[in-house]
Symmetry: C2
Subunit: 297 residues, 2 copies
């Protein structure tokens, strides 16, 4: 997957430790020193017309999604979103209408999550580009990275995997679910399923030095989402996370039907040598590939 | 100027006070609460192929500039740059070469200023887009905003205004000069001259509720830069700042030829009713307009 190779290359060129830096390139957010008991989380996600959305998507929906994917990155680390910057590349025609439309969606989702726009940039561009950066905070003890999954941990998701091909714009980031999880249980790793369970779980296993086995029959699918798309298409933005079996059991007993969200066990973390696999409904076990929705060719 | 109107509109839609927010939309950086004695500074600047650079600019130079304009935003508030995120929109062809080229420049300037890349995003895009966000810090007592200029203050610049039309890519942000200024003098307002002295000084006067008079003959020009371009073209990235006359005199006595940079007095802040004017070399006084290099039509 080209994106992973390029990110590794960039990390090699400019990564490495620095004063005040807890985690740099390679997770959903960078983690910076902040206060005695909190870290600062910093994420960045760009949407480009033609790659992430078509001109039919509707400006309000695009504004919503550009912020939602960033809030989702903060949720993936266990944090609370706080502030965003919005940098826009706007086609020459009717810039004022574009700003109005985009900000209609931005304002709505920011209102729901208590997020404030504090800056950004405005530019001319042939195609519409919207790059949002987000800052959030997380209690030090509640930070969850991709790298903490251990053999024996249970793999869960925060809800049925939606059909990202049909509806990828107007989703609700899982901040409430994330905060409930990190506030009450031991979550060993977490990320959002932006690229599909296949590539995303492979990232967790790579960062954690572990293997994993998914049970396809246990993957919850909403409104007729094909299993193949849940595994390899993405754009669903549920959280995928791991926890020790005892925590997982307690979570299931405490949640479904009790208003704390509904969580689904979909597999387990295994030894690194086992690779990342999926047990298909017929019983056959296959490799769970890293291929998936990729924003670079 | 369309950009100012749009920014005002956005500020109206999503601005307003928030917990932890000192300054939002409208200065070179947002200012956030950080520690007992420091603020966090957060800037964002996007470059788009066709608007900010042509395909002949050279990838290394584009990478350099994308970071330099952001470091300059931190310098404009009196701060020290620390971390950046880099979000790229890359044409399909030869993404690996583009990343290599851009990061050659990014790495160089980050090395000079002790700045670390901690995150970002990679995407496909028809035209090259590079959006950098920067975080820096500043001692609370050293923060300089655009809004502090007072009648009687002297207006200065950090160096000769370069010809932004000829060479706008490989400039050196004025962090050293800024830190020297805020560490030793009372600086009442500051910003970088990214759009030309005309529009930029008008912004300071608007934020400060003051007027200003520039003496054109005093504006230092490097390598044959036409006065008109210094006033209205921009892309020079010197700092323009104001200070009480006593501080200005002390600064001039302490600096030129002493390795602390070289600063130039170019005018004075006046009462708000006086407007923003320029005394031309022939003696005529003209309005100093807000027009200038604008990244939106």
């Amino acid at each position: 997957m080209k994106e992973i190779i390029l990110i590794d290359k960039i990390k090699k060129m400019v990564g490495g430790p620095a004063k005040g830096l807890i985690e740099g390139i390679g997770d959903d957010c960078a983690v910076l020193e902040y206060s005695a008991d909190k870290y600062l989380l910093w994420g960045a996600d760009m949407l480009v017309q033609g790659t992430h959305f078509t001109s039919e998507a509707g400006l309000e929906n695009i504004g919503w999604k550009a912020v939602a994917v960033n809030i989702s990155d903060i949720a993936a680390m266990g944090g609370v979103p706080k502030f965003i910057t919005v940098s826009l590349g706007l086609p020459d025609k009717d810039t004022s209408r574009a700003v109005n439309g985009l900000y209609k969606g931005i304002k709505k989702i920011c209102g729901i999550f208590g997020v404030r726009v504090v800056g950004g940039d405005l530019n001319r561009s042939e195609k519409l580009v919207i790059d949002v950066n987000i800052i959030g905070e997380v209690e030090r003890k509640r930070l969850v990275k991709r790298s903490g999954a251990r053999p024996g941990d249970v793999i869960l998701v925060t809800g049925p995997i939606r059909n990202g091909k049909k509806d990828h714009l107007r989703f609700m980031p899982r901040v409430k679910e994330s905060r409930y999880l990190v506030g009450n249980y031991s979550v060993s790793s977490m990320m959002d399923t932006s690229d599909g369970i296949g590539p995303d779980l492979n990232r967790i296993c790579r960062a954690s030095g572990a293997g994993a086995r998914i049970h396809a029959a246990c993957v919850p699918l909403s409104d007729g989402t094909p299993l193949e798309d849940a595994l390899y298409y993405g754009e669903s933005f549920e959280l995928i996370f791991t926890m020790p079996p005892r925590d997982a059991n307690e979570l299931l007993l405490n949640t479904c039907g009790r208003g704390n969200g509904c969580f689904y066990v979909i597999g387990e973390i295994t030894a690194p040598g086992d690779g990342v696999t999926v047990k298909m409904p017929g019983g056959r076990t296959a490799g769970l590939k890293t291929k998936g929705f990729c924003h670079l060719s």
